[in-house]
Amino acid sequence: MKILVPVKRVVDYNVKIRVKADGTGVDLANVKMSMNPFDEIAVEEAVRLKEAGIATEVIAVSCGVAACQETLRTAMAIGADRGILVETDVELQPLAVAKLLKALCDKEAPQIVICGKQAIDDDANQTGQMLAALQNWPQATFASKVVIANGKAAVTREIDGGLETLEMSLPAVVSTDLRLNEPRYATLPNIMKAKKKPLETLKPADLGVDVTPRLTTLKVAEPAKRSAGIRVADVAELVNKLKNEAKVI
């Protein structure tokens, strides 16, 4: 059984981004880029399924600029067997990524796609669900536990009110939430080994997919700043301020 893991190259989660002064976007020059944290969790889960003898091959896929190769190498250092880069300089929106992934699913025939629930740059939370729709596969989003047995997946999901468990036959799409696992650190020997693993590069046209964006960004602005607050000396002052100044209690 093959597992396909889409991994996105995003601004590192520790970076405090800056909006460009001309309002055209976010300044990405010289900013540290990393694998989307939810995708690290996805790679880890796929590799564990392989280590448990359930999966036979883990394929990492990244769509975007040539530098996404680094993200694929990171996935292979965690344990993915090979990588596929769908290279384009066009800004990719979730529907376009879902279509590229669909084309790759048709080609590679994985039994499970494990993706992140959300990319921390666009905060879209869409791609996995879109892929599941295009494939007419069942989906289990926001997973905190995945059990694969007898050609079925039982997935526990983090929902607003608590947790629920869904059962579905494979193939299916699973998207990861934070509690699914704690990704391992890639060791130096594994980073070295990853450099020798196969990495194939395709173009969207090779997959017959039109990736033209559907949404046009007219403007990117900074959110309103909160005005600076004050330090209170003790609990008495705090209670006094909340009652008489803020009037919220």
């Binding site: 601004v11 405090k16 909006v19 976010v26 979730p94 529907l95 629930k117 921390i120 740059d121 905060d123 879209a124 939370n125 869409q126 996995g128 669900q129 879109m130 729709a133 069942p138 989906q139 289990a140 989003t141 926001f142 039982a154 526990t156 983090e158 929902i159 607003d160 009110g161 608590g162 629920e164 468990t165 869904l166 059962e167 579905m168 036959s169 939430d177 934070l178 509690r179 559907r214 949404l215 046009t216 960004t217 007219l218 403007k219 990117v220 602005a221 900074e222 959110p223 909160r226 607050g229 004050i230 330090r231 209170v232 609990v235 705090l238 209670v239 301020k241 909340l242 803020a246 919220v248």
Partner: protein, 309 residues
């Protein structure tokens, strides 16, 4: 223009975020229909019919809508979609699970978690954990949109829309719900609470979290929230998490106790009206957004605060 709002409900009543979504629809302009798909859900449908601004409620009542699976709801929404210019749902785990599936089958983009409506095709949405606001324009024939509830007021009741039964779509049988464990609480829902008391790793344990924060929340009639670190450490269940990838809240008062204020946490609470931070580290980033900061040990401060209220 006719807008379809997909109701989130528990068959008996609407979830609060549905009311905010109706308000977002009214900012777009045009007729507003609400879809209530459920099992024995006429009470929820009646409530939807009473919302101001709603002109029609479509009810699909069938056993296979009991568990609200994305696969079954998508089939139903797709069957209705041709009548609408916009399809909206709340940006909750319900809406986020469902609407991208709908959008993909319609071959349109989904616009996630809007916080503003500029016009019928142009919307504002936060990106990068709310550190930037993008204004985006859609050229698609149907706009599929999730709505951040804290950015829109709740629609008021006082309307009287027609309620119409519609045919259910077939059961796709793609997923089976085998278990659901909902956190039981007498406290207000996080998304709708006026006051939230939220705890972080600084509390040290689940026992401390409950011992210290519950009396405070009781005194204030507050909901309880948490940072990711507190959830990961098992102090409280996952549905307590506030942040970029948890719940987005904007209460009148947010009290952060033993929370450092990472970007991802701030993303979920920085639109609160008044923020209080209690933290022993004077350099904790939470103080940069706090209206009232108290640099102190929480183990001494919180009981003193409870006594002073």
């Amino acid at each position: 223009m006719t807008i379809l709002v997909i109701a989130e409900h528990d068959h008996q009543s609407l979830k609060a975020a549905t009311l905010n979504t109706v308000t977002a629809a009214s900012k777009i302009g045009g007729d507003i229909h609400v879809l209530v798909a459920g099992s024995n859900c006429s009470a929820a449908a009646q409530q939807a019919a009473q919302l101001q601004g709603v002109s029609s409620v479509k009810v699909a009542d069938a056993a296979h809508y009991q568990n609200q699976t994305a696969e079954n709801l998508t089939a139903l929404v797709i069957a209705q979609a041709g009548n609408y210019s916009h399809i909206l749902a709340p940006a909750t785990t319900f809406g986020k699970n469902l609407l991208p599936r709908v959008a993909a089958l319609l071959d349109v983009a989904q616009i996630s978690e809007i916080t503003g409506v500029e016009s019928a095709d142009t919307f504002i949405r936060p990106i990068y954990a709310g550190n930037a606001l993008a204004t985006v324009q859609s050229a698609d024939k149907i706009k599929v949109i999730t709505v951040r509830s804290t950015a829109f007021d709740a629609a008021m009741s006082g309307g009287s829309a027609a309620v119409e039964a519609i045919a259910a779509a077939n059961d796709t049988n793609q997923t089976t719900l085998t278990n659901r464990e909902l956190t039981k609480s007498e406290r207000p829902e996080l998304g709708a609470a006026k006051i939230i008391v939220s705890g972080g790793r600084g509390l040290g344990s689940g026992e401390n979290y409950h011992k210290l924060l519950e009396p405070l929340a009781d005194k204030l009639g507050a909901a309880l929230g948490a940072s990711r670190a507190a959830v990961d450490a098992g102090f409280v269940p996952n549905d307590y998490q506030v942040g970029q990838t948890g719940k987005i809240v904007a209460p009148q008062l947010y009290i952060a106790v033993g929370i450092s204020g990472a970007i991802q946490h701030l993303a979920g609470m920085k639109d609160s009206k008044v923020i209080v931070a209690i933290n022993k580290d004077p350099d904790a980033p939470i103080f940069q957004v706090a209206d009232y900061g108290l640099v102190a040990d929480l183990f001494e401060t919180v009981p003193t605060l409870v006594a002073a209220l």
